[in-house]
């Protein structure tokens, strides 16, 4: 844990709320980006991140200094996000698959792919990747995001997700294969439409 974090946490425990504001400012974006990719909704992601900070604020005395503060914070937020996605999956399965049975979600506007504009291409690519991510289970999505977006080590990921490193390794392997399969299908579908 960084010395700054340590000092800020100590100040928080003394009742200085402003110190907690500094901690929020320090980690809000990393946390939000991860959670956003997990839940695929800015509003939901903001809610999850806010609740994670509030939970951390109330549980600071239980924070064991064995791990880094942001790892602890990630654990709270990522697990909340996974729980949220699980609930949403149940609702989706009860009301039918929004994205079609077994198919890959279509880009919002396929015609945009033909646009030469780089921004639009990037936006389409983002939607394609995010749609593929959405096809994965929350657990698989979480490991991919933590590894490729956040560049976390297996050890840290195991700590955040509270599973053994071996589970992280196998889960990540399966997640990559699954993502590959989904992306290939997406590509084939898009090329077929062209």
């Amino acid at each position: 844990m960084s010395g700054d974090d340590d000092r800020l946490i100590a100040d928080c425990l003394k009742g200085q709320t402003a110190a907690f504001g500094e901690l929020v400012r320090r980690y809000q974006d990393r946390l939000f980006n991860t959670v956003f990719r997990l839940v695929d909704s800015a509003e939901d992601a903001q809610d999850v991140v806010q609740e994670a900070f509030l939970h951390a604020y109330q549980s600071l005395d239980r924070f064991k200094r064995e791990s880094q503060f942001f790892t602890w914070l990630y654990r709270i937020a990522v697990n909340s996000a996974i729980s949220l996605k699980r609930k949403q999956r149940i609702v989706v399965s009860l009301h039918g698959d929004r994205e079609g049975q077994g198919g890959v979600p279509e880009p919002h506007d396929v015609s945009e792919l033909s646009q030469p504009d780089l921004v639009l291409e990037r936006a389409d690519e983002e939607r394609r990747i995010q749609a593929a991510l959405n096809r994965l289970s929350p657990e698989h999505r979480a490991v991919l995001i933590l590894k490729d977006l956040e560049d976390q080590k297996y050890e840290t990921m195991a700590e955040i997700l509270q599973v053994p490193i071996g589970t992280i390794r196998s889960r990540l392997h399966r997640a990559r294969l699954e993502l590959r399969e989904v992306l290939e299908k997406t590509t084939q579908k898009i090329e077929g439409r062209r």
């Binding site: 929020v24 800015a42 509030l54 604020y57 600071l60 005395d61 990037r122 990559r176 294969l177 993502l179």
Partner: protein, 438 residues
């Protein structure tokens, strides 16, 4: 086609998490396999696509928003929350309250358990009073109490019960055996008439049964005339005795008992279960039961045992023998051992020479004829000489005392003993000798 194991290895390679040796192996594989290279390329492309995803950010106002929510919801930091939860009362008040509760529970439990037997007795007597006849009431109520209370109430009728038991305990059974018997009958009646299940607490009167120790002596010392005389006198004092004899090995002790009893003309009929335990040398306490031994014979038997004891290995010797008058509890024990109802314990009336007068003469004649033909009958008397009457073989029964036989009534030996036992001869003793392992 790459195996799943190889794919996992390559995926970990892409993540940069392989140890050095495996990384080298993966590198060699990539050099050799185009398929592996293609697979890694795809994985790296996917990972790169994920990394290229734009990073979403929250606005700079977010920290303030979180702090506002903290204020709005009146959330407290951990330390402050702890302070807010701190108890209003000092800690010692909690400790004192816990101690007080424990004290009250302890005192309550003590009072309850101490008062329970007395209470139950009162209930028992109260119920008895309504059911029992006036005669029984007379037996229960000591004269003094009765005179003072012409119209006994439930509470008053309860009082004599403890007084009666106290009297019995103080006077002793020897000075007033009838009183002792009365107390026992009283207990039994109370138990029988109780609507509740019998409990050990209601056996308080049985616990009050006091037996005056008749004699305690070392068998080895029975060569002293003074002790012999004392033993003889003690055995003449009553008709039934309980003997306790301990030794290191009951199996060897039983060997010696059998030898001495046989010499004295008493055959030991050993129950099969006891016999098995004896033969296997299992640790067992044995009970010897006899109804057909005179004080003189018992004295001689014990004397012979003592003489034998002197020759025995010091480690195998008998310890002291303790002789007591047979108590009602002992009698109940005998009934349990034999598996018969106490009311059926009395021997069948038999005439002289062991003739069972309840059986037809023809039956006995048949048996005698069969014995004669088999050469087992009484020898023909010499010419001119009178026939000496010969009684039946005298038998003592050996049973396992501890562990007790589960179903003594099913024992062939017990049945045989009960069927052939002669009526108690005049002057004969009823004895229960318990041989215990020390």
């Amino acid at each position: 086609m790459l195996s799943d194991q190889v794919r996992q290895l390559l995926a970990t390679y892409v993540d940069g998490e392989l140890p050095a040796r495996q990384r080298e192996a993966a590198s060699r594989l990539l050099e050799q396999s185009a398929e592996a290279r293609e697979f890694v390329r795809q994985l790296e492309a996917d990972a790169a696509a994920l990394r290229r995803l734009p990073r979403r950010q929250l606005g700079p106002e977010f920290p303030q928003k979180v702090l506002s929510v903290i204020d709005d919801r009146r959330l407290h930091g951990a330390r402050r929350a702890k302070l807010a939860r701190s108890p209003i009362y000092p800690a010692w008040i909690g400790v004192a309250a816990a101690a007080a509760v424990l004290f009250v529970v302890g005192v309550g439990a003590t009072l309850y358990f101490y008062s329970l037997p007395e209470h139950q007795q009162k209930v028992a007597v109260a119920r008895n009073d309504t059911n029992q006849s006036a005669k029984t009431s007379d037996l229960r109520t000591p004269r003094k109490e009765k005179e003072n209370s012409p119209a006994p109430t439930k509470e008053k009728s309860a009082q004599p019960k403890s007084s009666a038991s106290k009297d019995v305990a103080e006077n002793g059974d020897k000075s007033n055996p009838a009183a002792n018997q009365t107390a026992l009958e009283f207990t039994t009646d109370a138990n029988v008439s109780m609507e509740t299940a019998p409990t050990r607490r209601l056996e308080v009167f049985k616990e009050l049964e006091q037996v005056e120790l008749a004699l305690s002596l070392a068998l080895r010392d029975l060569d002293q005339p003074r002790l012999q005389e004392r033993l003889r006198e003690t055995l003449k004092d009553d008709k039934a005795f309980h003997l306790d004899l301990t030794c290191a090995s009951t199996a060897k002790g039983l060997d010696r008992l059998q030898a001495v009893f046989q010499v004295k003309g008493i055959k030991l009929l050993i129950d099969k279960a006891a016999l098995t335990r004896w033969q296997k040398g299992l640790k067992t306490h044995y009970a010897l039961y006899s109804e057909d031994v005179t004080p003189e014979e018992l004295t001689a038997i014990l004397q012979a045992l003592g003489a034998d004891d002197k020759k025995a290995d010091p480690k195998q010797r008998f310890n002291k023998i303790i002789i007591n008058h047979l108590t009602p509890a002992n009698r109940g024990e005998i009934c349990t051992l034999l598996g018969v109802d106490p009311r059926n314990m009395a021997a069948k009336p038999k005439g002289p020479l062991g003739v069972d007068i309840t059986q037809p003469l023809s039956k006995k004649t048949e048996e005698q004829l069969a014995d004669s033909l088999a050469g087992k009958g009484a020898p023909r008397p010499a010419p001119g000489k009178a026939v000496a009457p010969k009684g039946p073989d005298r038998v003592a029964l050996i049973l396992s005392y501890n562990p007790v036989r589960i179903s003594p009534a099913s024992s062939k030996e017990v049945k045989q003993f009960l069927a052939t036992r002669p009526g108690q001869r005049p002057g004969a003793l009823q004895i229960l000798l318990v041989l215990r392992g020390s």
